[in-house]
């Protein structure tokens, strides 16, 4: 341990994660905080990190206010409808009213936007989406962050947040290690913005061989967005609201451009429109929500799952018609090449040419992604002009820990942000963090040497577990004293899959299963004290696993608390199969006590800041 070098960096604003939200925060922080020291820390390299690392073929959130295509209240109605009524409308409205200025900057910076030749407007893929040639989306955006930051640290995984030793519940920085050099990094900061990744692969994935942990959604997103705030006692919201994605089979290529732009559609193996077959059954579960327009994504998933269970699979996307148009064929292929190349690889390997063969679809394992189509994440303050009293405590996007801000996957309640909305939310958090510092809220922070030295012992323990434990091995590789990160991950994924509503049970769970899941997760948490890492890369794997595990505990507690099935198609509470607006038209909020590690749950009112009237006219 003594040989590990320690670096201490003092800054004003520390941004954890250099994905879309983190780069947005780093960029904007410089505008408002000209003389502040701004540091961004990234686990990979910000040129190719986060969910947009591989590229993106559409910007999924653009209002087009300049042409009155949509207004922020329209987006609130859309997200509210898709999430079955449960969103933080203040946060959604706030993101939506700013997102156009973000997209206009991307255009100026050189991101190739497709434009309608006649009108000159951005080419719409759907009501909210505009089409881009986005293979280099992330390197372009990263350039902006690099020009704003005092320093960007790549290849450092942040494992813990530091707290102020003087004032209770105030942030003091973060610590982590460089997975190449092994050096220990201490970042003291006046304000911290968590812009890390959501939780992929906490549930057992469909690919369990070579493709395990390598198939989209962003496999490196290991739940740090949630684990870091949960561990210091920040409140979380809607963590039960995982998503199951309807995707092209095996490669998990997204279906958005296919449905919206190419106008392809789904059918069962007999060529039937199966969705309408399940209308009455769905109505018996959720009532009039099935009549909403557009149909909430979870309910379309529900029909898919029911149809496959009833023997109508495989479900196909009908591409043969659209792909006869050479332009649409090109769009269909480039959609994957610049975003999810693995899907093009799968089609090439299986001789699937969508011009002649309708490709198969599947429903994925569940994911927890607060920037995508779920509301899971931290409970944050909204903006002063839009938030009711329960939702406002001084600084936009500040968590319930003073000086700790969030953006992107971290922030709960504001689904459907996607890339542009996450960047925008990073900008909002950064401005608020600058104001927090200017208001002298961060004065007198003290982080003792003891605090970060104690954490150092904890962080490097898996290396010691391995070094000591391997002495007990007389043959082979199995030690009685430690488990490897991959073994722990497989146990976690199996617990979540079998007890918390994964693919093994067709997304079904109930209170008894959740209680058993929590018991097994507790033992896993204890066993992770004995995880062994043979090198720094495995040390990263060990900490990714620990972050996934604490996130999973929170997801399971929330799933147990909400005694209804709010989102059939995402998961089912078999003991409460119906949507229950009388008791559960509310947001769920949790807090894990850092000392006792016990979760407490509460219901918080959902406020509707936008009415429904115009929605009906628009549809």
């Amino acid at each position: 341990m003594a040989k590990v070098k320690t670096h201490v960096e003092e800054s004003d604003i520390l941004i954890i994660g250099g994905g879309m939200a983190g780069t947005g925060a780093t960029f904007e922080a410089r505008h408002w905080g000209r003389d502040l020291k701004i540091v961004c820390v990234e686990k990979a390299n910000i040129d190719r990190s986060g969910a947009v690392a591989q590229g993106l073929y559409a910007i999924n959130c653009y209002m087009g206010m300049q042409w009155n295509e949509n207004q922020p209240e329209d987006h609130v109605r859309y997200a509210r409808n898709d999430l079955m009524g449960m969103v933080r409308e203040d946060l959604g409205y706030d993101m939506a009213r700013h997102v156009d200025s973000t997209v206009h900057m991307f255009d100026e910076w050189g991101l190739p936007m497709m434009k309608n030749e006649k009108t000159g407007r951005y080419l719409r893929e759907g009501k909210w989406q505009i089409m881009i040639h986005g293979e280099s989306y992330k390197p372009i955006v990263a350039e902006a962050a690099k020009k704003s930051a005092n320093k960007i640290y790549n290849r450092i995984m942040i494992t813990h947040l530091l707290m102020d030793d003087e004032k209770e519940n105030r942030i003091g920085g973060a610590v982590g290690f460089n997975m190449r050099t092994g050096d220990y990094h201490v970042f003291k900061a006046k304000a911290v913005i968590v812009a890390a990744g959501g939780a992929s692969h906490i549930f057992k994935p469909r690919a369990v061989g070579e493709g395990m942990g390598r198939t989209w959604y962003a496999p490196w997103s290991n739940g740090s967005a949630y684990a870091l705030p949960i561990a210091v006692g920040a409140k979380m919201t809607q963590m039960e609201n995982r998503i199951v994605l309807c995707r092209f089979k095996d490669g998990y290529g997204p279906v958005g451009a296919y449905f919206l732009h190419l106008k392809t559609y789904t059918q069962n193996a007999n060529g039937e429109n199966y969705e309408k077959k399940w209308y009455d059954q769905t109505k018996s579960l959720v009532g009039e929500y099935i009549d909403h327009h557009p149909t909430p994504t979870c309910l379309r998933n529900h029909a898919f799952i029911q149809e496959v269970q009833a023997g109508g699979g495989p479900i196909h996307m009908v591409t043969k018609e659209a792909f006869q148009d050479p332009h649409l064929e090109t769009v269909g292929w480039e959609n994957f090449l610049g975003m999810t190349v693995g899907q093009a690889v799968v089609w090439a390997s299986q001789n699937i040419d969508p011009k002649y063969t309708n490709p198969e679809l599947t429903t994925s394992e569940p994911y927890v992604m607060g920037s995508h189509a779920t509301c899971s994440g931290a409970w944050v303050s909204g903006p002063e002009d839009l938030s009711p009293p329960e939702y406002f405590w001084g600084y936009n996007r500040m968590l319930t820990v003073d000086g700790l801000f969030g953006a992107g996957d971290t922030v709960g309640g504001s689904a459907h942000k996607f890339s542009s909305g996450s960047f925008t939310e990073g900008r909002l958090a950064a401005k608020a963090a600058v104001k927090y510092i200017e208001d002298k809220k961060a004065d007198g922070i003290k982080v003792s040497d003891k605090q970060y030295k104690d954490l150092k012992e904890v962080i490097y323990k898996p290396l010691e577990n391995y070094t000591v434990g391997r002495n007990e091995i007389t043959g082979g590789t199995v030690s009685p004293s430690y488990i490897s990160p991959i073994q722990g991950l497989q146990r976690l994924q199996r617990i979540m899959d079998e007890y918390v509503g994964g693919i093994a049970t067709n997304y079904m769970t109930n209170e008894n299963m959740l209680n058993r899941g929590l018991e097994l997760l507790k033992w896993l948490e204890e066993d992770l004290e004995n995880v062994g890492a043979e090198d720094y890369h495995q040390l990263m794997r060990a900490w990714e696993l620990k972050h996934r595990t604490i996130t999973s505990q929170c997801v399971t507690e929330h799933t147990k608390f909400r005694e209804e099935t709010r989102w059939p198609g995402y998961y089912y509470r078999g003991d409460h199969l119906k949507l229950d607006d009388d008791n559960w038209h509310c947001l769920t909020v949790s807090r894990r006590d850092p000392k006792t590690k016990k979760f407490t749950m509460e219901k918080v009112p959902v406020y509707h800041i936008v009415d429904e009237k115009k929605e009906k006219k628009a549809s």
Binding site: G110, L111, D250, G338, N351, R427, K435
Partner: protein, 108 residues
């Protein structure tokens, strides 16, 4: 797949679902501002695509905010972000909602 973004690389699919005999080759050229793809199917079918990766000389039009105009006095207390409201291309200021219209716990 992007470990070596400036040179042509081949990829093969994961063995648990991708039969062999296919390839996807990619070449990304920053100076030309393009990326080119060649897809070979297991049955020999071949498809080629080229896409732009940027419309401007690399990085030249991205501002260094430390050298730009400073925000106006007091602007930190508004809801505006950098370039706003001008950058929204709309008439007037940022939209907002009156708190009088908020409704607690009703079913939309």
């Amino acid at each position: 797949m992007k470990a070596c973004p400036n040179h042509a690389i081949d990829v093969r699919g994961y063995a648990d679902f991708a039969p062999m005999g296919h390839s996807v080759r990619v070449r990304r050229e920053e100076e030309k501002g393009t990326i080119s793809w060649r897809i070979k199917f297991r049955n020999g079918t071949e498809k080629n695509f080229v896409s732009p990766i940027t419309t401007k000389p690399w990085g030249k039009f991205i501002p260094k905010l430390a050298e730009e105009d400073k925000p106006n006095q007091g602007e930190i207390t508004t809801q505006r972000l950098y370039t706003e409201p001008k950058g929204l291309n709309i008439d007037g200021d940022l939209p907002t909602v009156s708190k009088d219209s908020f409704k607690k716990g009703v079913y939309y």
